[in-house]
């Protein structure tokens, strides 16, 4: 299972508390596969993390894991093994841009 941490507003929108656990079939899992699985399980999140049409990450969204910024990695690149194994979460973060 892959662990995903959502920012507060998206947890409220999705009606979840704490981390989300996702079954991602693609091996090795990629950002795209994780987001596909997330949007399948929580369709209210469609359009909030990546654009509906272009599938590009929204400008003020960042992806962190294993103390690395993965925001600019290819969506089709494998995520770190620690994320794939579930030992580290894949963090979806709202950029620090004022409040």
């Amino acid at each position: 299972m892959i662990r995903v941490v959502l920012p507060s507003h998206l947890r409220t929108l999705a009606g979840v508390r704490g981390e989300i656990k996702l079954e991602v079939k693609d091996k090795p899992p990629t950002q795209r596969a994780i987001l596909d699985a997330l949007e399948t399980d929580y369709p209210m999140l469609l359009g909030t993390i990546r654009d509906h049409v272009t599938q590009q990450r929204r400008p003020f969204i960042r992806f962190f894991a294993c103390e690395q910024d993965l925001s600019h990695e290819s969506p089709d690149a494998p995520v770190p093994e620690a994320v794939a194994s579930g030992s580290e979460p894949f963090c979806i973060v709202g950029a620090i841009a004022g409040g």
Partner: protein, 371 residues
């Protein structure tokens, strides 16, 4: 006994204010969607507990929320606003071309006869319609595609379609307004459109009387007299007696004719309200005095309404969708400010009192008169 429900959109959530017909004691419910920008909320005129809300965020984009119980509970519905075909370009502030890009929904206008049909005015300017309660949205692309789109440009707040007026007397008629393109009208349910800006004069564009390019801030109509439209433009308050075919200035004795909000009394179609704002570079009332101006003659002759409103040190703004009226007798008038106050008058504007004083900046105010 009738009840009043005021739907307030703010920079940080939505609030629902309710009262009985006396309009003296108010219950404040909220924030709903705390932390999100609520550009607009509006109820269906045929099913008043069906509410729609435009919820957005610079981080997470656009959401549309729907309630079937008057705002007690909400559910997210469709938020995919995709322009039809290749979107093309419009003008940017510096006159260069820029591709159309969806940013947010400014205004939601439920159908007059079907609770599942709703129109959305969006930035970058376009009109969308949903006929399934907001689950899916389809652009009425004839507006953006009618020919002048490449010449449209954003106003200071963005290139937004902010006004949608449906006309019960002419079921196919829709009037919309865009900052800064102007007003447009369709007579065939949104299939085809044409600009209706003859008579507008805007000295901030190269040709002050151009067919498009005017920064229309808001338009209001009384449902009993749909051919008469009142407009608050960037500068100038305007009136049309022929559904927008031509416009005449009715600013008259207003101390400044810049402003955003405009609305019409529920029972007197020649009584209208504006909130004059000092200028386009100083978005606050003249002399620090918050004054609503009322005309009982359809424009030109205006009186200041001040009782209960701050008359010193007041430097708030009243945005274009932040004024509304109820349908009780006497008519109630309501407006919200960027300082977070929502003011109400239960006597057509003679006397005012704040319902709440310390909300986040108010973006929109809509009023429902419930049985």
């Amino acid at each position: 006994m009738s009840k009043i429900r005021v739907l307030v959109g703010t920079r940080k959530g939505a609030f629902i204010l309710t009262s009985d017909a006396a309009r003296k004691q108010w219950n404040v419910d909220g924030p709903h969607f705390a932390g999100w920008e609520l550009y607009h909320l509006k109820g269906s005129p045929v099913e008043p507990d069906r509410l729609y809300a435009s919820q957005c965020s610079g981080w997470f984009g656009q959401m549309i929320q729907r309630s079937n119980d008057g705002g007690k509970t909400w559910e997210p519905v469709g938020n995919k606003f995709a322009y039809e075909g290749v979107p093309g370009t419009h003008q940017w502030y510096d006159g260069t071309s820029r591709p159309w890009e969806f940013k947010r929904v400014w205004h939601l206008e439920p159908s007059l006869n079907d609770p599942d049909t709703i129109f959305a005015g969006v930035e970058d300017a376009a009109l969308f319609r949903s006929s399934d309660g907001g689950q899916s949205w389809h652009e009425l692309a004839g507006l953006r595609g009618h020919g002048s789109g490449p010449n449209w440009q954003p106003g200071a707040g963005g290139m937004c379609l902010h006004t949608i007026i449906l006309d019960a007397a002419h079921p196919g008629r829709i009037v919309i307004a865009i900052s800064a393109a102007g007003a447009f009208r369709s007579d065939d349910s949104g299939e085809t459109w044409r600009p209706i800006n003859r008579g507008l004069r805007s000295n901030y564009i190269p040709d002050p009387t151009a067919e498009v390019g005017h920064c229309v801030h808001h338009i209001a109509m009384h449902r009993s007299r749909p051919d008469v439209l009142f407009m608050q433009k960037h500068w100038d308050v305007m009136r049309s007696n022929d559904a927008g075919e031509s416009w005449q200035e009715v600013s008259g004795n207003l101390p400044t004719d810049f402003g955003f909000a405009i609305d019409v009394h529920a029972h007197e179609p020649d009584t209208l309200y504006v909130v004059p704002i000092k200028s386009d570079s100083e978005h606050f009332p003249l002399e620090g005095k918050l004054r609503v101006y009322r005309s009982r003659s359809g424009g030109n002759e205006w009186e200041a309404l001040t009782k209960g409103l701050p008359q010193r040190d007041c430097y708030v703004n009243v945005l274009r969708d932040a004024m509304s009226v109820d349908t009780l007798d006497p008519c109630g008038v309501y407006f919200g400010t960027t300082g977070g106050q929502v003011y109400a008058s239960a006597d057509s504007g003679d006397n005012w009192a704040p319902i709440v004083r310390d909300l986040p900046a108010v973006l929109s105010v809509e009023v429902q008169t419930l049985p």
